[in-house]
C-alpha cells in the first residue's frame, strides 16, 4: 500500500451525498420519491450522464457516502465508469462503496462486476415498495459498516 509517512486521518462522513447515476428520468423520479419518503439526511445527487458523473466524482472535494450506478447507459456504460473511478487514485483512496443498480443481471456482467471489486449488484425491483425496501437495506448496511477512514497523504 503506497501510504507515505505522514498521514491525515479524516473520517469519511456517512452523511455525505449519495450519488445516483441513472439515465432514465422516470426511474430518477421514482427514486426521488422513495428517498423523500425514507427521509435520510444525505443529499441525493443525480446524474443522467455518466461522463458528467465521472467529472463530478473526480473534480469534487466532496466525499460521497455511496454511489449507485446503472449499467446500461449511453457514452460511458456503468462498467467503464467504474473502471475509470477505480483507476483514479484519489477516488480509490476515498473508498466509496460502489454499487450497481440495474434492470437486469446477466451472469457475465455480475462476474465482471465482482472482478472489479464492486460492493453490490442489485436488480431494481419493478414494484415501488420492494424498490423502497431494497434501498433501505442498502443504506442500512453501509451505515452499519465501519466507515472507511479516508487517509490522505500529507505530502505534496
Amino acid at each position: 500500500m503506497p501510504l507515505e509517512a505522514k498521514l491525515i486521518f479524516s473520517v469519511m462522513n456517512k452523511s455525505g451525498p449519495i450519488i445516483i447515476i441513472e439515465d432514465d428520468l422516470d426511474d430518477q423520479e421514482v427514486l426521488i420519491d422513495i428517498f423523500k419518503e425514507l427521509n435520510y439526511r444525505n443529499e441525493i445527487v443525480f446524474f443522467s450522464d455518466s461522463e458528467e458523473a465521472l467529472e463530478f466524482l473526480t473534480a469534487t472535494k466532496v466525499e460521497p457516502f455511496l454511489v449507485l450506478s446503472d449499467i446500461n447507459m449511453p457514452k460511458l456504460n456503468g462498467m467503464e465508469l467504474r473502471e475509470k473511478v477505480h483507476n483514479n487514485e484519489d477516488l480509490r483512496m476515498k473508498s466509496i462503496p460502489y454499487l450497481f443498480f440495474s434492470t437486469a443481471a446477466e451472469q457475465k456482467q455480475v462476474i465482471e462486476a465482482y472482478s472489479r471489486s464492486i460492493q453490490g449488484f442489485f436488480v431494481k425491483p419493478p414494484d415501488y415498495n420492494k424498490l423502497k425496501a431494497t434501498i433501505r437495506k442498502i443504506i442500512e448496511y453501509w451505515q452499519e459498516c465501519v466507515s472507511p477512514n479516508y487517509i490522505k497523504s500529507a505530502q505534496q
Binding site: 473508498s95 455480475v110 465482482y114 452499519e144 472507511p148 487517509i151
Partner: protein, 139 residues
C-alpha cells in the same frame, strides 16, 4: 438466498461458537464452515465445487492475515472469478486496517458487537443485504 455454505475465518473458538449460535438463532440454514487459518480457507476454495454464499473473515489471524487473504483472492484469477462477497468482522478495527480493507475493495467491514443480540442483528443485516444482492452464485 442461495444454499451455499457460509465460510467463517476466525481463529478464536469462542467466537466461532458465538457465530454458529447467532446464525442458527436468526434461522439461517446454510451450512457454516469454520476455518482458523487463511491458508486452510485458500486450500478449500481451490478444491471445492461448493458455491459459497459469503466469506466472513477476521482481520488478525496467525499466519496469513485477513487482509492478505483478501489480496490473495483478488490477485488470483480463479478465486476472483468466484465472486464470493468478502466481509470483515473485527474485534478492534484499527483505522489503517479499515482503510486497507476498503482499498482492497472489501464488501463490508463490521465491528464485532459485545452483546449476543447485537451480533445476531449484525449477521441479519449482512445476510439480508447479500441475499438481496446479485452475485455469481445466484444469477
Amino acid at each position: 438466498m442461495t444454499h451455499g455454505p457460509i465460510l467463517v475465518l476466525e481463529d478464536d473458538v469462542d467466537d466461532q461458537e458465538l457465530y454458529q449460535d447467532c446464525i442458527k438463532a436468526i434461522g439461517i440454514n446454510n451450512p457454516v464452515r469454520f476455518f482458523s487459518r487463511a491458508e486452510e480457507l485458500i486450500d478449500y476454495l481451490l478444491k471445492t465445487e461448493d458455491q459459497p454464499f459469503i466469506i466472513v473473515s477476521d482481520v488478525n489471524l496467525p499466519g496469513m492475515t485477513g487482509l492478505e487473504l483478501k489480496q490473495y483472492i483478488q490477485d488470483n484469477p480463479y478465486l476472483r472469478a468466484k465472486g464470493i462477497p468478502f466481509v470483515f468482522i473485527s474485534t478492534n478495527a484499527d483505522k489503517v486496517a479499515v482503510h486497507q480493507a476498503h482499498a482492497l475493495g472489501v464488501q463490508g467491514f463490521f465491528e464485532k458487537p459485545y452483546k449476543f443480540e447485537d451480533v445476531q442483528m449484525m449477521f441479519q443485516k449482512i445476510f439480508d443485504y447479500w441475499a438481496l444482492c446479485r452475485h455469481v452464485n445466484n444469477t
